[in-house]
Subunit: 336 residues, 2 copies
């Protein structure tokens, strides 16, 4: 067979029409006469012609793909979101490029790069920590912020972090806990501040105060959860329940607690955040706040596609609801 790949020229020659007609047959068939259309389609079939998206995109001044920029590609939290995004994007004829901000030296630098490289019709950003003027570049594509919340008016898809925290606290309180601690993410992180705010407010609503020494700091990772557990165990006066800002930290925490010979929920009740897949298979099952990640991905893609279609740098934001998933890691506190 042919080594060469057929171009639109070949198809045009074989069908006995001009390239314009071939192009039209493929993009808006309605404007070409049925007879010609058939001839062209036949020629397409004969040659095995596949449209060259690069050339088409060049002419159309678009790229045909969007970039998802995450802090760390290795973090499995994102994979399910990707799956949702991919489904919608594929449908719309867009490809999904992934990149992380931590590979190179300067994260903000990477953002700027992708903003100006012109390699994408849109950008989905999973990392809210960058200075605003980075976005101030001439012909930049639309940007959608996912998961990380920001004070300004960039379009975003987020979950209701405060409400999630309130659900967690409410559940623990209902089980009888008064001494409730919080295991946070990195202090500068917006998720941390939102969840902490929700935590504090919920406690206040119950007439409780958030004790500073019961607020432990982590970085969302399992290891940091384990480290926090060691600090918790060293506490002279320990909270009987802990709300963790991520399931991963909750897992690390529980693991370390178990290794020390203590029990969950016997010695401490735990609520996580995210509902990652493993949560329900742990022993005990991890009570947690579910973030519907596939839906986050779907909606993100949809919103971005709308912005691209409207050729607009702004657009609506969306807040996705979270949900309390009750499992066995919460129990009434041991009676004193």
């Amino acid at each position: 067979m042919d080594r060469k790949i057929a171009t639109i020229q070949d198809v045009a020659r074989i069908a006995g029409v001009s390239t314009a007609t071939v192009s039209r047959t493929l993009s808006k068939p309605s404007v070409v006469a049925p007879a010609t259309r058939d001839a062209v389609l036949q020629a397409v079939a004969d040659t095995g012609y596949r449209i060259n998206t690069q050339a088409a995109n060049l002419r159309r001044q678009r790229t045909g793909s969007v970039i998802a920029l995450v802090p760390n590609l290795a973090n499995p939290f994102f994979s399910q979101i990707f799956a949702g995004m991919s489904a919608v994007l594929t449908e719309a004829g867009l490809g999904l490029l992934v990149a992380d901000t931590q590979t190179g030296s300067d994260p903000e630098e990477r953002l700027s790069y992708h903003l100006t490289s012109g390699n994408a019709d849109g950008l989905i950003l999973f990392d809210g920590t960058f200075s605003r003027d980075r976005l101030n570049v001439p012909g930049r594509p639309p940007v959608l912020l996912v998961s990380e919340w920001m004070e300004d008016d960039l379009p975003s898809v987020t979950v209701d972090n405060r409400h999630g925290a309130a659900l967690a606290v409410g559940h623990l309180a209902q089980a009888g806990h008064r001494a409730i601690g919080f295991l946070s993410g990195p202090p500068e992180n917006v998720l941390t501040s939102e969840r902490l705010a929700g935590f504090t407010t919920a406690l206040a609503d119950l007439g409780l105060v958030a004790r500073p020494d019961w607020i432990l700091e982590g970085d969302f990772s399992m290891d940091s959860g384990a480290a926090a557990a060691r600090r918790w165990m060293a506490l002279p006066d320990r909270p009987t329940a802990l709300f963790c800002a991520s399931d991963e930290m909750a897992i690390g925490f529980m693991g370390a607690v178990h290794r020390a010979g203590l029990s969950v929920p016997g010695d401490v009740s735990i609520v996580g955040f995210d509902n990652i897949e493993v949560a329900q298979h742990l022993t005990p099952g991890l009570t947690t706040i579910r973030q519907p990640r596939t839906i986050i991905g779907l909606r993100s893609a949809e919103l971005l596609i709308d912005m691209i279609a409207a050729n607009s740098l702004s657009g609506p934001s969306e807040v996705i609801e979270v949900e309390l998933i009750k499992r066995a890691s919460v129990a009434p506190p041991r009676s004193p």
Copy 2:
């Protein structure tokens, strides 16, 4: 400022040279005179010119990206591999497009699509189950198979699955187990057959036989592990140790066993495969066979880049070594 984005024409005009010289200054600076070079670079800086990769790629007959095609994007197993790949690819100026084969209807169809779409300079395939003639298309890009092993001579990056299985069995045997079962993946899967073969051989080397009723079937997922646990518990004569073909299944299995009031490793010792991050935080810590996923990603990217550079459809394969990670899920069998 300007709304328009500067093109090579603008730079050429401002620098007072031809577009050819601008292009050369940017791609092979050595051939242009230092004085002109400086002038061009100055003009580039002044205009904020960014090269249009699409146009460049069109002209160069390349796309500037590779596609990673996985069975299921939501599976976190791949994310760490992506991270490794991305690092290398970015370095080489290539983007990483991700897609999964399960979104559409027919998985093989999706493969064919990406093979012919001409959207990538290379394809990384994480799913070995497709008929060979799918690859028989005119100008297809190089394809590298990752993780799933195949009998023919497609370039691939795999781990030594048989050896991994042997390590697992060896470790269990050393702990004193004679009654060792296997929790497999889907029967048609190559990983399943390789690990099963390694399992059987290792048993044979110990003078043991693989009992068919001790070979449980799963699909690599946590849920299937939990289901297998229920079948295991129903067994009249249960093996005292189980080698699971994935950590996920091991986790599901352990969870279900715990819920039934039995203990790991008290009632059954477990060895997993993969060493996913959560393995060390479980209770008990999961003994497993480590697959160095970042390295798999790195090497895959490197091999594919070599093929692309050499413009060749074939290339070397690589087998990555696995390693036994001992944790607390293995103990001597309860004395009868």
